[in-house]
Chain length 359, copies 2
Amino acid sequence: MTIPQLLTQPATRNTDYASPFLRACHRLPTDITPVWFMRQAGRYMPEYRAIREKYSLIEICQHPEIAAEVTMQPVRALGVDAAILFADILLPVIPLGLGLEFAKGEGPVIASSVRTLEDVRAMKPFDAESDLGYVMDAIRILRNELPHNIPLIGFCGAPFTVASYIIEGGSSREFLKTKTMMYSAPEVWHALMEKLSNVLTDYLVAQIRAGAQAVQVFDSWVGALSPQDYETFVLPYSQKVLQAAKAEGVPVIHFGTNTTTLLPLMKRAGGDVLGLDWRIPLDDGWKLLGDDVAVQGNLDPIVLFAPVPEIKKRVHDILNRANGKPGHIFNLGHGILQNTPVDNVKAVVDMVHEYQGNK
Amino acid sequence: MTIPQLLTQPATRNTDYASPFLRACHRLPTDITPVWFMRQAGRYMPEYRAIREKYSLIEICQHPEIAAEVTMQPVRALGVDAAILFADILLPVIPLGLGLEFAKGEGPVIASSVRTLEDVRAMKPFDAESDLGYVMDAIRILRNELPHNIPLIGFCGAPFTVASYIIEGGSSREFLKTKTMMYSAPEVWHALMEKLSNVLTDYLVAQIRAGAQAVQVFDSWVGALSPQDYETFVLPYSQKVLQAAKAEGVPVIHFGTNTTTLLPLMKRAGGDVLGLDWRIPLDDGWKLLGDDVAVQGNLDPIVLFAPVPEIKKRVHDILNRANGKPGHIFNLGHGILQNTPVDNVKAVVDMVHEYQGNK
């Protein structure tokens, strides 16, 4: 469906085009700038910590009622304009047979890291509805629970970012093993990316069919690459995932950090909305991308630890740079950090909604 | 002294302007593209590991004869066009009274991290010659030992990067405490940066007066900042250090990573040569900076783990992008990593020196 059709058609997906978030994804004018936060559900919220005392992160994800509850927490507490499903980009790793654990304070640990063609071939077949049905169940629950005007964002990791965890066996700073696979064993790299892009496409499409009204593809660590490497080793696979989601008729957000030199290529890979981090001023980033995409961003998450007047100055700077142009979704440049003061997050939502300048 | 003066004057500093490295710093034509590597002395070399079995990193630095020997190792083994003093950017932290240790596999640990104005005021007075005399002694030894045509590069950390370690108490991924100080306690931040820029200026000038023929200022982690924050919180302090070094009459290299959006401001802060990492194609970076500076870079250090033909393709790509324009110093985009195959490093030196294309 085209955008005008979506706006005149009956709401087959129960999509309320009064949603400023969805309107902004389509670069339509909005009364307020919509705002949501990456990792808006999480440890910084006392409600979440209360649940985490009883369940591990993976257990929360695997219990649709609890995942739905955690997803709802920031919607109730903050007044954001969109909900994002509570899940983890590495969930598909479990049915792929690689083993996933979250070690205390150390982030994800993948037991069977993938390094060879045999490792790639040994990855189990994947079917989103049967393997990660709990995610789709959480989406179905949420679509019943969420207010009509608060759309639900589904998401997955981009093939590069998921591959980096699978190859390194967890988080990485240098991506030594990941890049070494690209440079020294490109046939293994391409086989892995082929597999992952199919898995992630299936997963993301299943989320949309279960009711996600927009999706975000997280290529959080892709900024470690040169533009040339991005084009050769990443773009075709991200494109597959992004285009498949797009074909389902929902807006697609394409997110990364450290991506200044990658932005034109990321745009080519796809996305109605491109994520910008704080390293590039919002207006410069939007100019680089062009007027035919929306942008999301770009407050440094650490600003949320500052006093409110300092936060306000920086929120207003971003809004001034957007200059009221349709297609700006306010967000951070990366996820909310642990220990972020909840009151400051709430204050940002209000600042964005109350902003009057430059419109 | 101006460049033409330097070229006609007697070599008061024993500076051989037959050095392609020094000529490139001044954007003068060279027969070959000069090449050296950040962290060219280090764990990837068996000769270095042999010494490290007997001495800690700090002990090596504190024994001028050993530091000089380690500095010489890559000059002998690789055929690079410049030597860089073996030292650590955090050495000044020791006389400042903050305590420095290198925990096994964890990088630097600073015992007394600086968080308040009292902490800044409690930092001891600093005098480079008396406090870090061993560094200057190593420089004096090296100037006697080094071949006439191999200049010695001195260096220090830039105020931001040193401050980040001092505030965080070690390495960091997010720079939460560092940025929070900027945003929430700017008076503490500015007092710390004032102190550090004086310390680092004194230290760098002492290195030049001891005989360093060029210096590099490492702002390795500055790419975590937005351009606006760089301009307000970093630029004036980096500028002080860079300008003081420049006034001593040697070429100054200004280095950072992740700096695409900061490059014009880093140029304004100073440096005859600006470092580029692999995230920006060399020609694009040079265009952004302008023809009135030299550039250094920009191979991804992980390429050194690839097979030689793949390395060659990428080395040639960089040289093709430089297109024979005077003022390119070949280097990595960041330091050599542990476990890098020495033969591949040596192969890159030869590839750069043997390159004939596009000249």
